[in-house]
Amino acid sequence: MNAVTGTMTGSAQDARSLVIRDLVKEYRRGQPVLRGINLTLPGRGMTAIIGPSGTGKSTLIRCINRLVEPTSGQILFMGQNLAQLRGRQLRAARRRIGMVFQEYNLVERLTVMENLLSGRLGYVPVWRAWLRKFPQKDIDRAFELLDAVGLGQYATQRADALSGGQRQRVGIARAIMQEPDLILADEPTSSLDPKTSVEIMDILSALAGERDIPVIVNIHNVELAKRFAQRIVGMTGGKIVYDGPPDGLTDEDLRTIYGGEDWLNDRADG
């Protein structure tokens, strides 16, 4: 599985599909946060997971790259069951899965360039990273990506000098630096204003789309989900209650997902 290269074409897209079977996560015994998730995602395009806060969306995508340990179930990706990997194999799988975080999670005291290059830590020996002797082709790619997200002149700035929107662009670029076969985005726009949110989703879907990388995004904003995703997964209470195209998502479905109905009436204000 280490031999898989970044040059993915045609039929290889099927290889990037993700199958989740009977995934259960209990932080405390007897209190499952995920109650048996079954999900098959295609190897391309953007899938949005919507649902109320605390329903396990974050836990679900963190189980995929094992930042959270699943209690039981299978996560099949690129011919491996991610739920059972350990040590070196797990790290090798993680480097093929990029992640974008709600609060950007950049290393604040490092420069923008160093943050991007940290996306190569799964590939580059530690001593090279320590001496900042990254391969020239990684550095070239980092500059290209910075230009692509419109931060070309910020390479040597420290991450903590950037605005929220700029930080999230760096976060996306860092994920792409991994040459991933899958991108997980955990509420990537929740800390941003509405306009910046749309810009960030634009960048995420454009950069992933150009490279044909499938994206799974947790998102609070239903309108954004409908606008950018080709598929919507609705979760409530640790279960999937909707799985289908954005057009098929009715008010009835939203009521099932979020409960109640008063909030639907003034949705236009949001």
Binding site: A93, G98, N105, L106, V107, E108, L121, G122, V126, W130
Partner: protein, 265 residues
């Protein structure tokens, strides 16, 4: 309206009355008075003490510089003790502090590491110096070893605490890239703690400079031995010149370490 109790005029009480805290204050004041009376302090002793002190200070002037060779040798040795002890102490504190950090290490690792730190911290450097003088004999080596132990106790604990205060979000992000543990350490942990580590290391250098002038009193090398001898021979003018140079050296170190801290912010 002016009544402070909760029930009058129907006011709700915004803060809970802290009876335990009030009791502690009363107990503290009572103990200070008791301990003072018990130890037999008296005004007469204080007044006569001031007189003795004045006499002693008068004999210090003018400072004597005729034995400057002896002074310089002692000072240089103290400086060497301090620098060597700080270097090795900080170097050893790095792994000890990391192993003691509860957010990165499992309990069965942090517990022994914390034990080592606690052991190193439990004695004053002078007491440790006495042990090392017995073990390796008189001279600078004993002083260096004593201050290394003291440095591990102090800096190791501060290192561990600053590692425990880092943002785990940044660690999580670097882990998610597939980085190994050492990769996480250099790209996510080190950038967050380095400025504070530099700060602690320079404070420790300051502190070791002060302590290195003292370990000589128990035979650990440096200016301390010279100072102690001068006291015992009532060469108070020479004592003063030693003190002046010591103060000057520590102030110079203070300026230097402040400058180092600033550059690494």
């Amino acid at each position: 309206m002016t009544a402070p109790t909760a029930d009058t005029a129907g006011h709700r009480q915004p803060f809970r009355t802290n009876w335990g805290g009030r009791l502690a204050y009363v107990a503290l004041v009572a103990y200070v008075i008791y301990a003072g009376s018990h130890l037999g302090f008296s005004w007469d002793r204080f007044v006569s003490g001031i007189g003795n002190g004045g006499h002693f200070v008068a004999r210090m002037f003018p400072p004597a510089w005729d034995r400057w060779g002896l002074l310089a040798d002692g000072m240089i040795e103290s400086l060497q003790i301090a620098i060597l002890a700080s270097f090795f102490g900080v170097l050893l504190s790095l792994p000890v502090g990391l192993l003691a950090a509860r957010n990165l290490m499992p309990v069965w690792v942090t517990w022994p590491a914390r034990g080592i730190i606690a052991l190193c911290r439990s004695f004053h450097p002078i007491i440790i110096a006495i042990l090392f003088v017995k073990a390796v004999g008189f001279g600078a080596l004993a002083g260096v070893l004593a201050l290394i132990v003291g440095s591990i106790g102090f800096v190791g604990k501060l290192f561990a605490e600053s590692i425990e205060e880092i943002s785990l979000k940044q660690v999580e992000a670097v882990r998610a890239t597939g980085a190994s543990f050492s990769g996480v350490l250099i790209m996510a942990v080190q950038p967050q703690v380095l400025p504070r580590f530099i700060g602690f290391a320079t404070y420790q250098l300051d502190s070791n400079l002060r302590n290195s002038t003292m370990v000589g009193i128990v035979g650990g090398g440096g200016i301390g031995a010279t100072l102690f001898t001068a006291y015992q021979r009532f060469d108070f003018d020479f004592v003063l010149s030693i003190l002046i140079v010591t103060v000057a050296m520590i102030m110079a170190a203070e300026v230097l370490s402040g400058w180092i801290r600033k550059t690494f912010q």
